[in-house]
């Protein structure tokens, strides 16, 4: 039976059977497609989750903070530029005004076999993945199976490039890795137990003198899901790359961190040769589907692009506290 619950506190919102709703930009369509049934727990009246806090060298994003707020917040822009740039590239202004941090991290895949009436796929409770053998032009090139739809959260790609803790009411604290698991169970979009609520994300101290970039490979100028997306965070000291974080989305059913690329950057001079050599290994280990091999080229290109763009950025200010040393 369909019903709506409007709890007025976080405590009251916990332990309920049903699907939580924040901005509704994902859930509304899934309700219409009958991909979400049963009770909706609307968080409209739950106070305190829509706040961005910058304190003691840490940034906290409440789960109900909108993407527009993330993109525009001065502390996010100056101290976590990759996060702000990513948030600003998602969807459209109208969507970003409503879509939330929590909703973006927990949204369901955009696969065109899933988001249709009468969907019959692993995610919708069926027994096979029609995209794997069908038309998967926009799907994964790192086939981690069983579902081959790219992970839909650009914000997760950005947060994976940071040390983040996810606060969950009704469950332990999570990392992105524990939030998403290994994607072996296609029916689950995340690993939170029923009745628990993601309440916020805490980002570790900003890097001093960070240079960051977000690249979203799309065909039109704006408002498209990424074919490939890349987040890069670099710190250059004494002409050497001291820190490198490279994460990618659009290529697997999880956001990926490209350790091989990072390893070829750290300790090397910040030269075009270093960037080219590092980007060249971006697709190593990829296992494309028959129709997604093109994404390997695109991924290498987008990683190189992000590395170059990052180095062209003005470094961020030094971090305010000694605790915020680069990692």
């Amino acid at each position: 039976m369909t019903s709506l619950e409007l709890p007025t506190s976080l405590d009251a919102a916990l332990g309920r059977a049903g699907e939580p709703r924040a901005g509704g930009t994902d859930l509304t369509e899934r309700r219409r497609l009958n991909l979400s049934r049963g009770t909706v727990i609307d968080l409209r009246d739950v106070p305190g989750l829509d706040v961005i806090t910058w304190r003691e060298g840490q940034l906290h994003l409440g789960a109900l903070v909108t993407l527009a707020a993330v993109a525009e917040h001065p502390e996010v822009r100056t101290r976590y530029p990759a996060v702000a740039a990513t948030a600003a590239s998602i969807a459209t202004p109208q969507i970003r005004a409503r879509a939330t941090v929590g909703g973006n991290l927990l949204q369901h895949v955009r696969c065109w076999y899933y988001r249709r009436p009468g969907a019959d796929c692993l995610k919708s409770g069926g027994s096979g993945c029609p995209a794997r053998t069908g038309d998967h032009l926009f799907h994964a090139c790192f086939d981690l199976g069983p579902c081959v739809a790219p992970h839909p959260s650009s914000l997760a790609t950005a947060l994976l490039a940071h040390d983040v803790r996810l606060e969950v009411a009704g469950d332990r604290e999570h990392t992105l890795a524990s939030l998403y698991g290994d994607a072996s169970d296609a029916r689950r979009q995340h690993m939170l137990p029923p009745g628990a609520l993601l309440t916020g994300v805490t980002l570790g101290p900003p890097l001093a003198a960070e240079q960051a970039a977000y690249v979203r490979a799309i065909s039109r100028a704006r408002a498209e899901w990424p074919l490939v997306e890349v987040v890069v965070r670099l710190v250059v000291a004494a002409d050497q790359l001291q820190t490198a974080r490279v994460t990618v989305g659009g290529v697997a059913n999880l956001p990926l961190r490209l350790a091989a690329v990072e390893n070829l950057l750290v300790g090397k001079p910040a030269t075009p040769e270093t960037l080219t050599a590092a980007a060249a290994v971006a697709a190593d280990g990829a296992k494309p589907l028959t129709g997604t091999a093109y994404k390997l080229d695109l991924l290498r290109g987008a990683v190189l692009d992000a590395l170059e763009r990052a180095l062209a950025q003005t470094p961020t200010q030094a971090a305010p506290t000694p605790a915020a040393a680069p990692t």
């Binding site: 527009a68 459209t92 065109w112 690249v215 039109r220 100028a221 290109g301």
Partner: protein, 944 residues
Amino acid sequence: MSPPISRRGILRGTLGGTTVLVGESCAPKMVSERAEAPAAATPAASTEPVSPQKLELTVNGAARSLDVDPERTALELVRSDLGLTGCKESCGHGACGACSVLLDDVPVAACLLPAVALHRRRLTTVEGLAPAGELHPIQRAFMAEDALQCGFCTPGFVVAASAFYTRWRAEHGNKEPDRDTVAAALAGNLCRCAAYDGIIRAVQKASSGAYEKPVGPEPAAPRYDAREKVTGAAKYTVDVQLPEQLEGKILRSPHAHARVRKVDWSKALALPGVFGAVDLLNGGTTIRFAGQELLAIAAVDARTAEAALAAVELDLEVLPALIGMDAARADGAAPVYPTRNTRKSAPNASEGPLLPLGWDGNVRGPFQLFSTAKLKARRAVEKLRDKPAEGVLVEGTYKTQVQCHSALEPHACVAHWTAADAVTVHLSTQSVHAVAEDIAQRWGLRRDHVRVLAQYVGGGFGGKATLQLECVAAVELARVTGKPVRVVLERREELTTGGLRPAQEIELAVATDRDGYLQGVTARAFADAGCGVGSNSTVLLRLMYAKAPKDIADWDVVNHAPPGKPFRGPGGPPVFWALEQAVDVAAERLKLDPILLRKRFDPNPARNRLYDWALSLKTWRERQPAQSDRGRYRRGMGLAVGGWFYFVQPSARVQVDAGPEGVVVSTACQDIGNGTRTVLAETVAAVLGIAPADVKVQIGDSSFVPGPMSGGSRTTASLVPAAIMAAEQLRDELVERAEQLVGARGVAVAGGVRHPRGVVTWQQLLAGSPPLRFVGTRKRDQGGYFLPPMYDIAPGRYVAGSLQIIEVEVDTRLGRIRVLRSHTGVAAGHIVAPALARSQALGGVIQGIGYALYEERRLDPRTGALLTGGLEDYRIPGIGDIGELDVHFIEDGYERVNGRSVGLAELVTVAPAAAIGNAVAHATGFRPRELPLRPDRVLQGLRG
């Protein structure tokens, strides 16, 4: 009972399109049934009642308290409960922004906003942007800069732009924002007419303070109905709400190929709130595409109708499906149409009547009626295959994709029987007149008992030209239930059966001698119009380089996919994609300027004027040599030319009434964004020397004198001469009257009649006068037409010309092509309404950009299920994808055309894709063959 839908083409005034596909008439004909005792007030049959939520909110400044169903969206609440229909439903999933509203002054998509989110918030819709009777500066700017065409997306744009305007002016004062800043702010809004250039200009100017105060009592708007569109007052078919109106929903086959064994709707009809059902199979038993219409059910609301559809017992025997041309042509492929009778039932994807052609399995054709000096053309090509040194032979296969019309207003109909034998039909249509005739015929009614109304039409592009199933379903459901019934397609349905341009594979050869003189063109075109037939594109080669021998033929390759329909410039974009690239290759090989080579080929006077214009352009003369850029970003400039028929609807009439109330011009035509109202008002006003706003225009009603279909680029060419004739008759009559009144012969001047003692105004002459009525006709051109009128359309003696230059930047790393600039030359005679013509021309260019770079309908290759079922995956161009555009009209020529105007709507959209292909080759050396030019194709092409 009703006869099956006609399969006549647009040329005859109407056609089948996606209609009844199955004519095997062993089963009973169209059946409809009324529910026994529908419980009128019981909605949501399938779900348990839910307790309504109480909402307190401010709506356009006024406090409101409402109870809402918690499953409702803000869009439903705004449109249905609040009756604020300026907020439009279009894509339904946040991609198009037509439903944009302000939530606490911030634009959001109402379709994705839960209604309960409005609690204790401030909601502002387009209706509330300015105090009653006044306009917001953004609205003034949209009017004055003509930032709209059909107007359906306009309220959403105005709402989103108003928020940008406020914020920009707060932060930057009177500084003008640049184009990309505006584009970023409006990235959440789509305009299928692609009035983007005007929108950017309007927002730039308004944001810099240019429209703070009304210039006069009204902003000077070049478009007659702009005010209704920018304020949300314009009522489209989807906005019609009649008392006791029911909602009809269509049940569609989930399978691409199936046999219908049983359809039983008795359980559905027994549900509370369900009023009636109509069969849409028309006696057929074979399903030939996924999404084919089976039946429709009317209920008290949409959710109840959907629940009823789910209760229909359906027994379909699923059969193997052939999806795409390769599957249909494979050895041993079963015929989609196995018998003569079934072949006759294939939907007509063309504009004309279907000619009898041969079939070989699933391949129908060849259609080669328009070849000329066929053998000579073939020999010219074969000779160069043997002796390549004797000239230049360019051969290749060019492929194009399926493009969907996807007008932002979906197909929609509200039907209401006013008597047992009389029906009024509100319809989103390109032809109120012809559809009224079709309805009369189908239901056996007197023509004057059928009234088709279309006050505003939210885009058509060829997809709404004829009587189609949303209309059939609504009219029949209204008949059987005795209540008004509305049927509106959802976006997924729109992208399934709303219309599509067939995909093509064109094998083309162009042969020139060593000096670059054209010796022959051969073309074999294979069209994927799904299960439809009659697509042809090579006929258009006859409009180009007319003296050359041509061996040209078309085939249909039928398969289990939705049928094609005529789409703005049918056949044009695919065949010019092939021809104009091949000509460019020939120019490269001959080391000739592409324009000079075309001049050698081309006797067409319209295009020759355009060649001279293009040669004078600095940007063309000073273009960099091919492949000058060697870095990541490579720029190139490409040119292509196009040609199009000039059509007239000889039956077109325009009536001018005059009396004490003023001057009224009327015709059974419609305005789909092309500017029919404006053209009529300007034309009549020009004859009388008065302001266009002082002419009252009445269109969109089949009860007026017959008007043309808004298709085949015929509207202006058909209406203007008729309007001039009626207006001149009125003028002459009033001159006579003035003579009787003042006793001296006068002459017509602006605003009245001058006589020896002064001027008597039209108002004075009309005051107290009995009503005057004149009906103008569309007299034939001097020297007649190219062919005598057939099926009420006459092809004129001229071929209109266009010339397209597009400059692109290719990102060789990420495979993205960006259009930087386009220059469009149009030679289509006299331009009646320059601002509107400019907007329409640029819109056609931008649709061409979408065709070249983004748009692509995709089906599951095994099941034929639609994958690109929304505007997120079916990608039409956005406001940031257009580059800088200009258009140049050459108005000379066409001396023998009555009115000297020929159409330009289709002409402008046929050449852009080819120009982009040539620009990409000029930039990179990669000669594209297949559309769209997605990043993966570009990267592959650059790798070689």
